[in-house]
Symmetry: C2
Subunit: 213 residues, 2 copies
DNA sequence: TCAAAGACTATACAAACGTGCAATAACTAT
DNA sequence: ATAGTTATTGCACGTTTGTATAGTCTTTGA
Protein backbone atom coordinates (compact mmCIF):
# COMPACT_ATOMS: atom_id res chain seq x y z
CA UNK A 1 0.00 0.00 0.00
CA UNK A 2 1.00 3.59 -0.53
CA UNK A 3 0.93 4.54 3.15
CA UNK A 4 3.78 2.13 3.82
CA UNK A 5 6.26 4.89 3.09
CA UNK A 6 4.72 7.14 5.69
CA UNK A 7 4.79 4.39 8.27
CA UNK A 8 8.40 3.70 7.44
CA UNK A 9 9.27 7.32 8.19
CA UNK A 10 7.58 7.24 11.54
CA UNK A 11 9.29 4.00 12.46
CA UNK A 12 12.74 5.40 11.71
CA UNK A 13 12.11 8.50 13.79
CA UNK A 14 10.81 6.42 16.67
CA UNK A 15 13.92 4.24 16.52
CA UNK A 16 16.12 7.31 16.50
CA UNK A 17 14.33 8.70 19.54
CA UNK A 18 14.74 5.38 21.32
CA UNK A 19 18.43 5.40 20.52
CA UNK A 20 18.72 8.95 21.91
CA UNK A 21 16.84 7.83 25.02
CA UNK A 22 19.30 4.99 25.54
CA UNK A 23 22.20 7.40 25.09
CA UNK A 24 20.80 9.62 27.82
CA UNK A 25 20.13 6.73 30.21
CA UNK A 26 23.54 5.16 29.68
CA UNK A 27 25.18 8.50 30.31
CA UNK A 28 23.19 9.95 33.23
CA UNK A 29 20.99 7.14 34.47
CA UNK A 30 17.26 6.85 34.15
CA UNK A 31 16.68 10.38 35.44
CA UNK A 32 18.86 11.67 32.61
CA UNK A 33 16.21 10.68 30.09
CA UNK A 34 14.22 13.92 30.24
CA UNK A 35 12.21 14.96 27.22
CA UNK A 36 14.51 17.93 26.72
CA UNK A 37 17.72 15.90 26.95
CA UNK A 38 16.40 13.23 24.59
CA UNK A 39 15.17 15.85 22.12
CA UNK A 40 18.55 17.54 22.18
CA UNK A 41 20.37 14.21 21.73
CA UNK A 42 18.18 13.39 18.73
CA UNK A 43 18.42 16.91 17.34
CA UNK A 44 14.67 17.50 17.31
CA UNK A 45 12.24 19.73 19.14
CA UNK A 46 10.69 18.91 22.48
CA UNK A 47 7.20 18.59 21.09
CA UNK A 48 8.12 15.88 18.62
CA UNK A 49 8.52 13.33 21.38
CA UNK A 50 4.90 13.58 22.35
CA UNK A 51 3.96 13.24 18.69
CA UNK A 52 5.62 9.82 18.46
CA UNK A 53 5.08 8.62 22.02
CA UNK A 54 1.92 9.33 23.94
CA UNK A 55 3.89 9.82 27.14
CA UNK A 56 7.53 9.93 28.12
CA UNK A 57 7.04 6.72 30.09
CA UNK A 58 6.03 4.90 26.90
CA UNK A 59 9.25 6.02 25.28
CA UNK A 60 11.29 4.69 28.20
CA UNK A 61 9.42 1.39 28.07
CA UNK A 62 10.24 1.09 24.38
CA UNK A 63 13.87 1.83 25.23
CA UNK A 64 13.77 -1.02 27.74
CA UNK A 65 12.39 -3.41 25.12
CA UNK A 66 15.20 -2.39 22.81
CA UNK A 67 17.76 -3.02 25.56
CA UNK A 68 16.40 -6.51 26.12
CA UNK A 69 16.52 -7.09 22.38
CA UNK A 70 20.18 -6.10 22.28
CA UNK A 71 20.99 -8.30 25.25
CA UNK A 72 19.24 -11.42 24.04
CA UNK A 73 19.84 -11.18 20.28
CA UNK A 74 23.19 -13.04 20.23
CA UNK A 75 21.83 -15.89 22.36
CA UNK A 76 18.65 -16.11 20.31
CA UNK A 77 20.74 -16.36 17.15
CA UNK A 78 22.64 -19.33 18.57
CA UNK A 79 19.43 -21.05 19.64
CA UNK A 80 17.91 -20.48 16.21
CA UNK A 81 20.97 -21.72 14.34
CA UNK A 82 21.05 -25.33 13.24
CA UNK A 83 24.13 -26.73 14.92
CA UNK A 84 24.29 -30.52 15.06
CA UNK A 85 26.76 -30.97 17.91
CA UNK A 86 25.20 -30.29 21.34
CA UNK A 87 28.65 -29.46 22.64
CA UNK A 88 29.13 -26.87 19.92
CA UNK A 89 25.69 -25.40 20.61
CA UNK A 90 26.44 -25.05 24.32
CA UNK A 91 29.86 -23.52 23.70
CA UNK A 92 28.44 -20.98 21.27
CA UNK A 93 25.60 -20.12 23.65
CA UNK A 94 28.12 -19.48 26.42
CA UNK A 95 30.20 -17.30 24.15
CA UNK A 96 27.14 -15.33 23.03
CA UNK A 97 26.11 -14.79 26.66
CA UNK A 98 29.44 -13.42 27.85
CA UNK A 99 31.39 -11.84 25.03
CA UNK A 100 30.96 -10.12 21.72
CA UNK A 101 28.71 -7.12 21.29
CA UNK A 102 26.97 -7.40 24.67
CA UNK A 103 30.23 -7.17 26.62
CA UNK A 104 29.85 -3.43 26.87
CA UNK A 105 29.82 -1.00 29.78
CA UNK A 106 27.05 0.98 28.09
CA UNK A 107 24.78 -2.06 27.99
CA UNK A 108 25.57 -2.87 31.60
CA UNK A 109 24.64 0.68 32.62
CA UNK A 110 21.35 0.39 30.74
CA UNK A 111 20.63 -2.99 32.29
CA UNK A 112 21.28 -1.67 35.80
CA UNK A 113 19.20 1.46 35.21
CA UNK A 114 16.15 -0.52 34.14
CA UNK A 115 16.76 -3.15 36.82
CA UNK A 116 16.44 -0.46 39.48
CA UNK A 117 13.02 0.50 38.14
CA UNK A 118 11.39 -2.93 38.28
CA UNK A 119 10.01 -2.33 41.76
CA UNK A 120 8.48 1.00 40.81
CA UNK A 121 7.04 0.23 37.37
CA UNK A 122 4.78 -2.84 37.07
CA UNK A 123 4.74 -2.69 33.27
CA UNK A 124 8.54 -2.74 33.24
CA UNK A 125 8.48 -5.69 35.61
CA UNK A 126 6.11 -7.47 33.23
CA UNK A 127 8.44 -6.85 30.28
CA UNK A 128 11.37 -8.12 32.33
CA UNK A 129 9.72 -11.35 33.42
CA UNK A 130 8.46 -12.04 29.92
CA UNK A 131 12.03 -11.96 28.61
CA UNK A 132 13.97 -13.25 31.59
CA UNK A 133 12.09 -16.45 32.32
CA UNK A 134 12.65 -17.97 28.85
CA UNK A 135 16.31 -16.99 29.01
CA UNK A 136 16.74 -18.62 32.40
CA UNK A 137 15.19 -21.87 31.23
CA UNK A 138 17.19 -22.05 27.99
CA UNK A 139 20.16 -23.67 29.70
CA UNK A 140 18.43 -26.86 30.79
CA UNK A 141 17.79 -28.32 27.32
CA UNK A 142 21.31 -27.38 26.23
CA UNK A 143 22.78 -29.27 29.16
CA UNK A 144 20.42 -32.18 28.72
CA UNK A 145 21.43 -32.53 25.07
CA UNK A 146 25.12 -32.56 25.94
CA UNK A 147 24.58 -35.20 28.59
CA UNK A 148 22.49 -37.32 26.24
CA UNK A 149 25.22 -37.15 23.60
CA UNK A 150 27.72 -38.30 26.21
CA UNK A 151 25.50 -41.18 27.18
CA UNK A 152 25.24 -39.90 30.71
CA UNK A 153 22.05 -39.73 32.70
CA UNK A 154 21.38 -37.09 35.35
CA UNK A 155 18.46 -36.79 37.70
CA UNK A 156 16.05 -34.00 36.67
CA UNK A 157 16.80 -32.06 39.83
CA UNK A 158 20.50 -32.32 39.13
CA UNK A 159 20.07 -30.80 35.64
CA UNK A 160 18.07 -27.96 37.15
CA UNK A 161 20.79 -27.24 39.70
CA UNK A 162 23.49 -27.33 37.05
CA UNK A 163 21.47 -24.95 34.89
CA UNK A 164 21.19 -22.51 37.79
CA UNK A 165 24.92 -22.70 38.41
CA UNK A 166 25.67 -22.26 34.71
CA UNK A 167 23.35 -19.28 34.44
CA UNK A 168 24.99 -17.77 37.48
CA UNK A 169 28.56 -18.11 36.28
CA UNK A 170 27.63 -16.77 32.84
CA UNK A 171 25.79 -13.78 34.28
CA UNK A 172 28.64 -13.05 36.65
CA UNK A 173 31.23 -13.25 33.90
CA UNK A 174 29.16 -11.02 31.64
CA UNK A 175 28.91 -8.49 34.42
CA UNK A 176 32.60 -8.50 35.22
CA UNK A 177 33.53 -8.50 31.56
CA UNK A 178 31.56 -5.33 30.97
CA UNK A 179 33.58 -3.37 33.52
CA UNK A 180 36.66 -1.74 32.01
CA UNK A 181 39.89 -3.55 32.90
CA UNK A 182 43.45 -3.22 31.82
CA UNK A 183 44.29 -6.90 32.22
CA UNK A 184 41.51 -9.03 30.76
CA UNK A 185 39.64 -8.78 27.48
CA UNK A 186 36.07 -9.97 27.04
CA UNK A 187 37.47 -12.96 25.16
CA UNK A 188 39.35 -13.98 28.31
CA UNK A 189 36.05 -14.11 30.16
CA UNK A 190 34.57 -16.29 27.43
CA UNK A 191 37.48 -18.69 27.90
CA UNK A 192 36.97 -18.73 31.67
CA UNK A 193 33.27 -19.37 31.10
CA UNK A 194 34.01 -22.35 28.90
CA UNK A 195 36.47 -23.75 31.43
CA UNK A 196 33.94 -23.28 34.21
CA UNK A 197 31.28 -25.06 32.17
CA UNK A 198 33.67 -27.97 31.58
CA UNK A 199 34.36 -28.24 35.30
CA UNK A 200 30.71 -27.93 36.33
CA UNK A 201 29.37 -30.38 33.76
CA UNK A 202 32.51 -32.57 33.62
CA UNK A 203 32.62 -32.52 29.85
CA UNK A 204 35.04 -31.24 27.21
CA UNK A 205 33.78 -28.36 25.11
CA UNK A 206 35.05 -27.23 21.71
CA UNK A 207 36.55 -23.77 21.54
CA UNK A 208 34.52 -21.61 19.15
CA UNK A 209 36.27 -20.82 15.90
CA UNK A 210 37.33 -17.25 15.10
CA UNK A 211 34.29 -16.65 12.91
CA UNK A 212 31.82 -14.35 14.59
CA UNK A 213 28.60 -15.74 16.14
CA UNK B 1 4.39 18.48 60.62
CA UNK B 2 3.41 18.49 64.27
CA UNK B 3 3.96 21.67 66.24
CA UNK B 4 6.26 19.88 68.71
CA UNK B 5 9.22 17.83 67.58
CA UNK B 6 11.55 15.38 69.17
CA UNK B 7 15.20 16.28 69.13
CA UNK B 8 17.80 13.76 68.16
CA UNK B 9 21.51 13.39 68.31
CA UNK B 10 22.99 14.46 65.02
CA UNK B 11 24.43 11.02 64.31
CA UNK B 12 21.16 9.21 64.85
CA UNK B 13 19.26 11.68 62.71
CA UNK B 14 21.76 11.35 59.88
CA UNK B 15 21.45 7.57 60.02
CA UNK B 16 17.69 7.84 59.99
CA UNK B 17 17.78 10.15 56.98
CA UNK B 18 20.09 7.72 55.19
CA UNK B 19 17.69 4.89 55.95
CA UNK B 20 14.80 6.95 54.58
CA UNK B 21 16.85 7.71 51.47
CA UNK B 22 17.46 4.00 50.92
CA UNK B 23 13.75 3.33 51.35
CA UNK B 24 12.95 5.86 48.64
CA UNK B 25 15.61 4.53 46.25
CA UNK B 26 14.62 0.90 46.75
CA UNK B 27 11.01 1.78 46.12
CA UNK B 28 11.17 4.29 43.24
CA UNK B 29 14.74 4.18 41.98
CA UNK B 30 17.37 6.85 42.33
CA UNK B 31 15.04 9.57 41.05
CA UNK B 32 12.64 8.71 43.86
CA UNK B 33 15.08 10.08 46.41
CA UNK B 34 13.87 13.68 46.30
CA UNK B 35 14.34 15.86 49.34
CA UNK B 36 10.59 16.01 49.80
CA UNK B 37 10.12 12.24 49.55
CA UNK B 38 13.00 11.52 51.92
CA UNK B 39 11.77 14.10 54.40
CA UNK B 40 8.29 12.57 54.30
CA UNK B 41 9.70 9.05 54.74
CA UNK B 42 11.73 10.19 57.75
CA UNK B 43 8.86 12.24 59.16
CA UNK B 44 10.82 15.49 59.23
CA UNK B 45 10.65 18.80 57.43
CA UNK B 46 12.28 19.51 54.07
CA UNK B 47 14.74 21.98 55.48
CA UNK B 48 16.24 19.53 57.95
CA UNK B 49 17.97 17.61 55.18
CA UNK B 50 20.08 20.56 54.24
CA UNK B 51 21.01 21.00 57.89
CA UNK B 52 22.53 17.52 58.10
CA UNK B 53 23.78 17.20 54.53
CA UNK B 54 25.28 20.12 52.64
CA UNK B 55 23.63 18.94 49.43
CA UNK B 56 21.21 16.24 48.44
CA UNK B 57 23.99 14.57 46.46
CA UNK B 58 26.04 14.16 49.65
CA UNK B 59 23.10 12.37 51.25
CA UNK B 60 22.83 10.00 48.31
CA UNK B 61 26.57 9.32 48.45
CA UNK B 62 26.26 8.45 52.14
CA UNK B 63 23.36 6.15 51.26
CA UNK B 64 25.62 4.43 48.73
CA UNK B 65 28.34 3.94 51.34
CA UNK B 66 25.75 2.41 53.65
CA UNK B 67 24.61 0.07 50.88
CA UNK B 68 28.18 -1.10 50.30
CA UNK B 69 28.55 -1.60 54.04
CA UNK B 70 25.43 -3.78 54.14
CA UNK B 71 26.63 -5.78 51.15
CA UNK B 72 30.16 -6.43 52.36
CA UNK B 73 29.60 -6.77 56.10
CA UNK B 74 28.89 -10.52 56.15
CA UNK B 75 31.94 -11.29 53.99
CA UNK B 76 34.14 -9.02 56.06
CA UNK B 77 33.02 -10.78 59.22
CA UNK B 78 34.08 -14.13 57.77
CA UNK B 79 37.46 -12.76 56.70
CA UNK B 80 37.99 -11.23 60.15
CA UNK B 81 37.00 -14.40 61.98
CA UNK B 82 39.75 -16.77 63.09
CA UNK B 83 38.89 -20.03 61.38
CA UNK B 84 41.71 -22.53 61.20
CA UNK B 85 40.45 -24.71 58.35
CA UNK B 86 40.92 -23.06 54.92
CA UNK B 87 38.05 -25.20 53.61
CA UNK B 88 35.76 -23.94 56.34
CA UNK B 89 36.82 -20.35 55.67
CA UNK B 90 36.07 -20.68 51.98
CA UNK B 91 32.71 -22.34 52.58
CA UNK B 92 31.66 -19.66 55.03
CA UNK B 93 32.79 -16.89 52.67
CA UNK B 94 30.70 -18.40 49.90
CA UNK B 95 27.70 -18.63 52.18
CA UNK B 96 28.15 -15.03 53.32
CA UNK B 97 28.37 -13.87 49.69
CA UNK B 98 25.18 -15.54 48.51
CA UNK B 99 22.72 -16.04 51.33
CA UNK B 100 21.72 -14.63 54.64
CA UNK B 101 20.81 -11.00 55.09
CA UNK B 102 22.12 -9.80 51.71
CA UNK B 103 19.85 -12.14 49.75
CA UNK B 104 17.21 -9.48 49.51
CA UNK B 105 15.36 -7.87 46.63
CA UNK B 106 15.60 -4.51 48.32
CA UNK B 107 19.40 -4.67 48.41
CA UNK B 108 19.51 -5.79 44.79
CA UNK B 109 17.38 -2.80 43.81
CA UNK B 110 19.70 -0.46 45.69
CA UNK B 111 22.75 -2.06 44.12
CA UNK B 112 21.30 -1.70 40.62
CA UNK B 113 20.23 1.90 41.24
CA UNK B 114 23.71 2.98 42.31
CA UNK B 115 25.34 0.85 39.60
CA UNK B 116 23.47 2.84 36.96
CA UNK B 117 24.93 6.08 38.32
CA UNK B 118 28.62 5.13 38.17
CA UNK B 119 29.03 6.61 34.70
CA UNK B 120 27.45 9.90 35.68
CA UNK B 121 28.96 10.48 39.12
CA UNK B 122 32.76 10.25 39.43
CA UNK B 123 32.67 10.35 43.24
CA UNK B 124 30.29 7.40 43.24
CA UNK B 125 32.60 5.58 40.87
CA UNK B 126 35.48 6.24 43.26
CA UNK B 127 33.52 4.82 46.20
CA UNK B 128 32.62 1.79 44.11
CA UNK B 129 36.16 1.01 43.02
CA UNK B 130 37.50 1.52 46.54
CA UNK B 131 35.16 -1.20 47.82
CA UNK B 132 34.91 -3.49 44.82
CA UNK B 133 38.59 -4.09 44.08
CA UNK B 134 39.39 -5.51 47.54
CA UNK B 135 36.30 -7.69 47.37
CA UNK B 136 37.29 -9.04 43.99
CA UNK B 137 40.78 -9.92 45.15
CA UNK B 138 39.66 -11.60 48.37
CA UNK B 139 38.98 -14.91 46.62
CA UNK B 140 42.56 -15.59 45.51
CA UNK B 141 44.11 -16.07 48.99
CA UNK B 142 41.13 -18.18 50.07
CA UNK B 143 41.64 -20.50 47.10
CA UNK B 144 45.40 -20.54 47.53
CA UNK B 145 45.03 -21.56 51.18
CA UNK B 146 42.70 -24.43 50.30
CA UNK B 147 45.09 -25.66 47.63
CA UNK B 148 48.05 -25.41 49.97
CA UNK B 149 46.19 -27.42 52.61
CA UNK B 150 45.48 -30.06 49.99
CA UNK B 151 49.13 -30.19 49.00
CA UNK B 152 48.29 -29.12 45.48
CA UNK B 153 50.18 -26.53 43.51
CA UNK B 154 48.54 -24.31 40.88
CA UNK B 155 50.18 -21.84 38.55
CA UNK B 156 49.53 -18.22 39.62
CA UNK B 157 47.56 -17.56 36.45
CA UNK B 158 45.40 -20.58 37.14
CA UNK B 159 44.52 -19.33 40.61
CA UNK B 160 43.59 -15.96 39.14
CA UNK B 161 41.30 -17.56 36.59
CA UNK B 162 39.66 -19.74 39.22
CA UNK B 163 39.11 -16.69 41.41
CA UNK B 164 37.40 -14.89 38.54
CA UNK B 165 35.17 -17.89 37.89
CA UNK B 166 34.36 -18.23 41.59
CA UNK B 167 33.55 -14.53 41.90
CA UNK B 168 31.32 -14.79 38.83
CA UNK B 169 29.31 -17.78 40.03
CA UNK B 170 28.88 -16.25 43.48
CA UNK B 171 27.76 -12.91 42.08
CA UNK B 172 25.38 -14.61 39.69
CA UNK B 173 23.89 -16.76 42.44
CA UNK B 174 23.50 -13.75 44.71
CA UNK B 175 21.69 -11.91 41.95
CA UNK B 176 19.34 -14.78 41.15
CA UNK B 177 18.77 -15.52 44.80
CA UNK B 178 17.58 -11.97 45.41
CA UNK B 179 14.78 -12.26 42.87
CA UNK B 180 11.56 -13.59 44.37
CA UNK B 181 10.91 -17.23 43.48
CA UNK B 182 8.39 -19.78 44.56
CA UNK B 183 10.68 -22.78 44.12
CA UNK B 184 14.11 -22.00 45.57
CA UNK B 185 15.11 -20.43 48.86
CA UNK B 186 18.29 -18.45 49.32
CA UNK B 187 19.73 -21.44 51.16
CA UNK B 188 19.29 -23.52 48.01
CA UNK B 189 21.48 -21.04 46.16
CA UNK B 190 24.11 -21.32 48.88
CA UNK B 191 24.11 -25.09 48.38
CA UNK B 192 24.45 -24.69 44.61
CA UNK B 193 27.31 -22.25 45.17
CA UNK B 194 29.14 -24.74 47.38
CA UNK B 195 28.65 -27.51 44.82
CA UNK B 196 29.89 -25.23 42.05
CA UNK B 197 32.96 -24.34 44.08
CA UNK B 198 33.70 -28.03 44.64
CA UNK B 199 33.44 -28.70 40.92
CA UNK B 200 35.53 -25.69 39.91
CA UNK B 201 38.29 -26.24 42.48
CA UNK B 202 37.97 -30.06 42.58
CA UNK B 203 37.85 -30.14 46.34
CA UNK B 204 35.36 -31.20 48.97
CA UNK B 205 33.95 -28.42 51.13
CA UNK B 206 32.28 -28.72 54.52
CA UNK B 207 28.65 -27.67 54.72
CA UNK B 208 28.31 -24.72 57.13
CA UNK B 209 26.67 -25.58 60.42
CA UNK B 210 23.28 -24.16 61.30
CA UNK B 211 24.78 -21.46 63.49
CA UNK B 212 24.61 -18.08 61.83
CA UNK B 213 27.85 -16.70 60.28
C1' DT C 1 -1.86 21.88 -8.89
C1' DC C 2 -3.99 21.75 -4.56
C1' DA C 3 -6.24 20.28 -0.48
C1' DA C 4 -5.53 16.88 3.18
C1' DA C 5 -2.44 14.59 6.37
C1' DG C 6 0.93 14.35 9.33
C1' DA C 7 5.72 15.27 10.78
C1' DC C 8 7.62 18.90 13.19
C1' DT C 9 8.48 23.51 15.85
C1' DA C 10 7.68 27.02 19.31
C1' DT C 11 5.91 28.35 23.35
C1' DA C 12 3.24 28.21 27.54
C1' DC C 13 1.97 26.30 31.96
C1' DA C 14 1.40 23.94 36.33
C1' DA C 15 3.74 20.90 39.22
C1' DA C 16 7.90 19.29 41.32
C1' DC C 17 12.59 20.01 41.97
C1' DG C 18 17.00 21.57 45.04
C1' DT C 19 18.29 25.21 47.73
C1' DG C 20 18.39 29.61 50.78
C1' DC C 21 16.99 31.74 54.91
C1' DA C 22 14.69 33.70 58.84
C1' DA C 23 12.21 32.12 62.84
C1' DT C 24 11.55 28.78 66.54
C1' DA C 25 11.84 25.05 69.74
C1' DA C 26 14.72 22.08 72.53
C1' DC C 27 18.86 20.95 74.61
C1' DT C 28 23.44 22.39 77.29
C1' DA C 29 26.49 24.83 80.17
C1' DT C 30 26.98 27.89 83.72
C1' DA D 1 17.42 30.93 85.83
C1' DT D 2 19.51 32.32 81.69
C1' DA D 3 22.28 32.83 77.74
C1' DG D 4 24.12 30.17 73.95
C1' DT D 5 23.96 26.50 70.73
C1' DT D 6 21.80 23.87 67.37
C1' DA D 7 18.31 20.78 65.69
C1' DT D 8 14.25 21.80 63.37
C1' DT D 9 10.51 24.16 60.98
C1' DG D 10 8.15 26.85 57.29
C1' DC D 11 8.22 29.24 53.36
C1' DA D 12 9.90 31.40 49.28
C1' DC D 13 12.85 31.55 45.16
C1' DG D 14 14.49 30.20 40.60
C1' DT D 15 14.98 26.15 37.71
C1' DT D 16 13.59 21.98 35.51
C1' DT D 17 10.15 18.78 34.75
C1' DG D 18 6.19 16.50 31.62
C1' DT D 19 2.51 17.86 29.03
C1' DA D 20 -0.70 20.75 26.25
C1' DT D 21 -1.63 23.40 22.23
C1' DA D 22 -1.49 26.34 18.33
C1' DG D 23 0.89 26.98 14.29
C1' DT D 24 4.45 25.79 10.34
C1' DC D 25 6.61 22.98 7.01
C1' DT D 26 6.88 18.77 4.14
C1' DT D 27 4.95 15.04 1.88
C1' DT D 28 1.09 12.65 -0.34
C1' DG D 29 -2.84 11.37 -3.44
C1' DA D 30 -5.90 12.53 -7.02
Amino acid sequence: MSDTFRRMQEFDRRAELVRATLDCIADKGIQGATVRAVAAAAGVSIGLIRHHFETKENMVLEAYRETIRMLTAPCDRVLAAEIESPHERLARFIRASIGGEISDLRILSLWAAFMSQLNADPEMKRIHDEAHLPYRSSFEPLIRAVMAAEGRHLAPGEVARLAIAMTAVIDGLWLEGCLPKQAETSEDYVAIGLEAAEALLRVALPRPTNTKD
